[in-house]
Amino acid sequence: MNIDSFLLMRHEIILLVVILLLIVAEVSISPRKKNSIVHLAIFLFGIHTIAGFLTIEESSLFGGMFRTNGMIHFFKNVLNIGVLVLLLQSGDWLQEKIVQENKGTEFFILLFSSLLGMYFMISAGDFLMFYLGLELSVLPVAALAAYETAKRKSSEAGIKLILSSALASGVSLFGISMLYATTGSIYFADIIEVITASNLSILGLVLFFAGLGFKISLVPFHFWTADVYEGAPISIASYLSVISKGAAVFILMIILFTVLKPLMHIWENMLYGIAIATMFIGNLFALRQQNMKRFLAFSSIAQAGFILLGLIIGNQLGTATVVYFVLVYVFSNLAAFGVVQAISLKTGKENISDYEGLYRTNPKLSLVMMLALFSLAGIPPVAGFFGKFFLFIAAASEGYYLLVFIAVVNVTIALYYYLLVVRAMFLRKTDNAIPFFKSKIYMRLGLIITVIGILALGIYSPLYEYIYELSAIFN
């Protein structure tokens, strides 16, 4: 193994260097300039994001345990951009709250370790690497969810997340052990050649899928979502709903489309039922939420249901639509969480009723929120519409007309509750609206990037074609 092949892990190596540099910086920065760690971390991560765009060739390392190709590389860049926007949005919160308690550096180290775990998870070439990446991505986030140690809700969110994710990974491992029993290997490349639909391998598939379903918060496994999102700090809730979910969807897609492809007649029926249940339960529970974070939690469950529409067809078109939808979803959800965070940081208010009359006092924030919600709902000019539209086309192309019809019904339900928030912001008049405030530069930058993303992704069609070309490897 020479240095050239080692450099194929460039994303991972640079991120590891960033983590190490932050540890050194923690020691050397004087206590009077504590805030500079935030600027340093954002700067270093920005460099990492830009360096990630350099092209990389397709190959595999360590005897097939680690592999990389154009699609995986592209998805790592999507995750990078998401985390960069998230850091920008939480920069003010970090400076005002977390750094003052001397917990700033640890925040970045934990967050970046989790991202590192996701890199390893999505480039995994065998189930051992996949499991290690999964755990590395979950454990730091659980610590971060319990990060505001003085708040009871935060600790509760942490314990709920760690216990349910431990159960999920345990169940998943039990499934993997059954797949190992039927095929005699943990390497994806070896499993593809020998796997057949026997009873044991089907049980293994179901248990494995249950474990990943927890991460994506599909319906029978969604109970932790709302509680964790409400209790955790907002940037961590945003991380869980955007980055963590996106990475889990991606690796689930890879494993279903390549390794477990011979069992497709089993898992397409499974996905069919779960998609319907996820969409309905996510949407119907979102209707009755008062807290903005719980509201976004249930909305993200419903969005996971829509993603399954692309997964169910299991070919190149499915891959392209799922990746495109996740890309759009990253920007829309980050914008929504960003506005919630900006308001919560200044006023501490998180309920939908607190947003009444927001347009009169803070027109720009309301417009960003409106764009984000329109994109999540799928209203034409913005990117979310195209994301959903392609998913529906993908499902219809394989003849799932009933499923598409149910999804359209759910889009209508979703439109109702997204518009409830828009109505509160634009049409309601109230005397004690949130007063005008100005966010700092990081937050504004973070929101501007998401708005550009929401508007540009829908219009710039070569991007979708580019993703479609990349997904040819998962055909």
């Binding site: 290690l132 809700k153 314990i159 169940v171 052990s177 190992y180 029993a181 943990i186």
Partner: protein, 105 residues
């Protein structure tokens, strides 16, 4: 390999262990007990990997490797969970599930 014991007995044992863990996770009222139940599930899969490796595919050591990694990760998981539970205990003086219900609906 153990004389006189086939793979079926051991796999039945690990499956029972797995479902005891799931049952305990759902029914226990104490956070520490829930953590122990999760450990049962993880250990069931550890034994599974070792046994399948030894009985079915003895020429490669993949299953044994996986089980070593699972043990290490499970230790990290438990340490983190216990530290969060301790932090919670400092605030509410309890590790019961019924006391962690501030957020509902």
């Amino acid at each position: 390999m153990i004389e006189g014991i086939s793979i079926y007995e051991i796999l039945a044992l690990t499956t029972i262990l797995f479902f005891i863990g799931v049952y305990g996770f759902v029914t226990r009222k104490n956070l520490i007990s829930i953590l122990i139940s999760v450990e049962l599930i993880l250990n069931a899969s550890v034994v599974n990997f070792v046994v399948i490796n030894k009985y079915l595919y003895p020429d490669m050591l993949q299953g044994v490797f996986v089980s070593i990694f699972i043990i290490a990760v499970a230790a990290a998981e438990t340490a983190l969970a216990v530290s969060i539970i301790i932090n919670l205990y400092r605030q509410i003086n309890s590790v019961e599930v019924k006391d962690t219900e501030v957020m509902k609906y």
